[in-house]
Amino acid sequence: MNTREAILGKVRNALGAGDDPGRLEAVWARLMNAPTGVIPARGQLDTTSRVALFCSMAQQAAATVDRVADETAVPAAVSAYLRARNLAPRVRMGGDKRLKSMPWVDERNLQVRYGSTDGEDEVSVSHAATAIAESGTLLLVSGKENPTTLNFLPDHHIVVVDASDVAGDLETALQKVRQRYGKGEMPRTVNLITGPSRSGDIEQTLLLGAHGPRALHIIVVGG
C-alpha cells in the first residue's frame, strides 16, 4: 500500500492536483459516457456494402472469405475448404449454440470434436461475436462456448460470422460487447483478429504463419 500511495502522491504533486472536484467529475463523466472520437467514414455504409467492405479488407489482410446463403450451408462450406486444401476431415469447435445448431451430421465424413484444443488439432471452427468492416477484423469473445486456444493453436482457423453482425467501425463492435456483458464488464479475452498470424522479424520479409494459425478462413452467413 505504501508504494501505491508513494506513486500516486508523486503523480498528484507533479500535476499540482489538489482536491479539485472538477477533475473527478470530468474523469467520471468520461468513464461513464465513453465519448466516441473520430470515426472513419469508410465503414459507414448500408448493410450490403458494409459486408462487401469487410470481405475485401479481410482478404487484403490475407484471410480467405467464403459467403453462404444461410447457416445450414456452413458445414458443407467447411468440408469444401478442407477438401480443397487436402486436409483431414476433422475439426474442433467450442459448444457455441449457433455452431451446434448447424447440420454437421449431413457431412458424413466430417468428424467434429468439441472443447478447447491441446495443440493437436489441425483445424478449428469458431463463431465471431461481431466483425469490423473498416479493417476486415473479426471479434471473438472467450467463454464456455468459445475456447480461446481454438483461435491460436490450430494451423487453420475457420471463423463463421453472421452478415448482420458486421459493424462498420471498431467502436460499434466494442459497443456490442459492452451491451452484451454490461457497462465496464468484459469476458476474460476479447480477440480482435485481422488475417492469419505473420512475422517480419527476419530481414523485414513478411511471412504468414508465425505462432498462430497459418491460414484464416472466414465464412460469412447471409447478407
Binding site: V11, G37, I202
Partner: protein
C-alpha cells in the same frame, strides 16, 4: 543492462564500419517508410485521428492519478491483482515472488520493452528461472545474448545468414543437413521449437500497449500470436506495464489503435489486438487461473509536470526511428540502452540521467521527420533541445565544446561585430578555398574534414543576402 550511452560516439563509429549492420539497416528504410505513408494516405481521417489520440493522452496524463485508481478498482473487481512498483528492482521482486509462489521453472514471454527496461531476463535467470522469449525477433536475440535494436523489430540489425548460424548452434537436436536458407524455413523451425515452450511454461509474462480504466483490461497488439499463447496456456498471466499506459475507455483505445498499427508497420490493424480482463471465468474452458498487473513508475512520475511530460504520450510504434537518418546510419545498439532512435534520445536521459545519456539528444540533425510522423505528435526535436539546455546548465559538455560555444556566443551577442567578423572572414576563406572551392583540411574543423571536404564560402554572407532580399522586396512593392 549496462548503460553504454556514454560511449555513443565509439558505438556509432563501430556501427558505421559494420558491413552486416549496414546491409540489415537497409531493410528499415525499405520495410517501414513506404508502408506507413501508404497506410496514412489510405485513411482520410488519419490526421484527425492523430489529433484525437494526442488529446486523449493529454487528458489522461492530466488526470493520471484518478485513472490509475479507477483502473485498479476494475482489475480487482474482475478477479485480478494489481501490484505497484516504484523502481525496476521492486518490479523484479514482485515478479519473482509470484514465480516462487507457483514454483515456476520456466516463463514464456511475449514481446515487451518494459521487461527489457527492468532487465527481467537476466534477473530471472540468476534466480534459477528460465525465461523464454517467444516473439521471433526476441527469440533470436535471446539466443545471441543481445538486446533489441528496435522497439518493434528487435532483430532488425541481423541478416538471415546470422539467424541460420544461431539456429544451427542452438537447435542441436535437429538434423544438421536441414535447409535453413530462407526466412520461411527459419520461421518454421522457430514455430516448432517454441510450440513446446508455451505448454511447458508455468507463467506467461506480457507487456501492455494499453490499460483500460473503464474495464480494468490490458491490451496487447501483435502479429505473431505468441503474446496470446504466452497468456492463455500458462496458469498465471503477469502483465508488466508502466503507469502512462492507461487510457480512459475502450473508445479511447480504439482511437489510438487506428494510428498505432498504421504508424508502426503500415497495417490497417495488427493481426491480433487482444483485450484481457482478469483470470479465466468459472465456466471458461481455457485461460490463466491468475492475472497480475505490475504498475511500474520507474521515473515516469518525475516527467509529469515538466517539459518532458509530452513524451509520456508515446505509444512505442517505432515510426520516429524508422524515419530517423541517424538511426538509419548507426542502428539501435549504438544508443546504448533500451530505447533507441529519437524517442530514446528523449526518454533515455529522463530514465537514466542526462549525465550518462547526453550524447543521445545531441545525435540529431533536427531534420524533424520524427515529429512529422509521430502519431502522438510528440515534439521530439524540441525536447532534445531541452535536454541540450539541461546538459549545458549542468556543465556536462566537454570543455572544448563549452569554450567554443562561449566564443561564438560572445560574437552572437554583439551583432555589428558578428557581421563585421563574418564580412571579413568570408572572402579570406573563399580565397584559401582555391580553385576547387573546398577545404580538405581546416583548423578547428577536423571532425568534419576527416570524412569529407568542407565547401568554402562563396559570395556574400547570409546577413548581406538577407538585406538585399528585403531591399528587393520593398522595391518590388513600391
Amino acid at each position: 543492462m549496462l548503460v553504454t550511452s556514454p560511449a555513443f560516439k565509439e558505438n556509432a563509429h563501430e556501427a558505421l564500419s559494420d558491413e552486416q549492420l549496414r546491409k540489415a539497416l537497409g531493410n528499415v528504410r525499405a520495410g517501414f517508410i513506404d508502408k506507413r505513408a501508404k497506410a496514412a494516405e489510405a485513411l482520410p481521417e488519419f490526421e484527425a485521428l492523430r489529433e484525437s489520440a494526442r488529446a486523449i493522452k493529454d487528458h489522461t496524463l492530466a488526470n493520471l492519478d484518478l485513472y490509475l485508481t479507477a483502473y485498479e478498482e476494475k482489475v480487482v473487481a474482475a478477479g485480478g491483482k494489481v501490484h505497484w512498483a516504484e523502481t525496476a528492482a521492486e518490479a523484479r521482486g514482485i515478479i519473482l515472488d509470484i514465480c516462487r509462489m507457483h514454483d515456476a521453472k520456466t516463463v514464456a514471454k511475449g514481446k515487451s520493452m518494459i521487461t527489457e527496461e527492468i532487465e527481467l531476463n537476466d534477473f530471472l535467470e540468476a534466480s534459477g528461472i528460465h525465461p523464454v522469449e517467444t516473439d521471433l525477433g526476441e527469440y533470436i536475440i535471446q539466443l545471441r545474448g543481445e538486446h533489441p535494436s528496435h522497439i518493434i523489430a528487435p532483430a532488425v540489425h541481423l541478416n538471415k545468414e546470422q539467424v541460420e548460424e544461431d539456429f544451427r548452434r542452438v537447435h542441436t537436436d535437429l538434423p544438421p543437413d536441414r535447409d535453413l536458407s530462407e526466412p520461411a524455413s527459419l520461421l518454421g523451425e522457430a514455430r516448432r521449437v517454441l510450440r513446446r515452450k508455451y505448454f511447458e511454461a508455468d507463467i506467461g509474462i506480457t507487456g501492455a500497449n494499453f490499460l483500460v480504466a473503464e474495464t480494468g483490461s490490458s491490451i496487447i497488439v501483435t502479429n505473431e500470436g505468441n503474446g496470446d499463447l504466452s497468456q492463455i496456456l500458462p496458469r498465471v498471466h503477469i502483465v508488466v506495464a508502466s503507469i502512462e499506459k492507461v487510457v480512459p475507455t475502450l473508445e479511447d483505445a480504439a482511437q489510438i489503435l487506428r494510428v498505432l498499427a498504421r504508424s508502426a508497420t503500415g497495417q490497417e490493424m495488427s493481426v491480433y489486438t487482444t483485450i484481457s480482463t482478469g483470470p479465466r471465468r468459472a465456466n471458461d474452458p481455457d485461460g490463466p487461473d491468475e492475472y497480475h498487473v505490475i504498475l511500474l513508475d520507474n521515473g515516469r512520475s518525475a516527467m509529469l509536470g515538466t517539459e518532458f511530460q509530452d513524451m509520456l504520450r508515446c505509444i512505442r510504434c517505432g515510426a520516429c526511428m524508422n524515419h530517423c537518418p541517424v538511426y538509419h546510419a548507426v542502428g539501435g545498439h549504438a544508443y546504448g540502452w533500451v530505447y533507441p532512435g529519437p524517442m530514446g534520445a528523449v526518454l533515455t536521459p529522463a530514465l537514466v540521467g542526462i549525465d550518462k545519456a547526453g550524447h543521445l539528444p545531441n545525435a540529431s540533425t533536427f531534420c524533424g521527420r520524427c515529429e512529422a510522423v509521430c502519431p502522438m505528435k510528440i515534439p521530439l526535436p524540441g525536447m532534445m533541445r531541452h535536454w541540450r539546455e539541461h546538459e549545458w546548465e549542468r556543465g556536462l559538455n566537454p570543455a572544448v565544446v563549452r569554450s567554443g560555444v562561449r566564443f561564438w556566443a560572445w560574437f552572437a551577442r554583439r551583432p555589428p561585430l558578428y557581421r563585421l567578423a563574418t564580412y571579413l572572414t568570408m572572402p579570406l576563406l573563399a580565397a584559401f578555398g582555391g580553385r576547387k572551392r573546398r577545404f580538405r583540411f581546416l583548423p578547428f574543423a577536423g571532425g568534419w574534414t576527416k570524412y569529407r571536404d568542407l565547401p568554402a564560402p562563396q559570395g556574400r554572407t547570409f546577413m548581406q543576402q538577407w538585406r538585399d532580399r528585403d531591399a528587393l522586396k520593398q522595391g518590388g512593392a513600391a
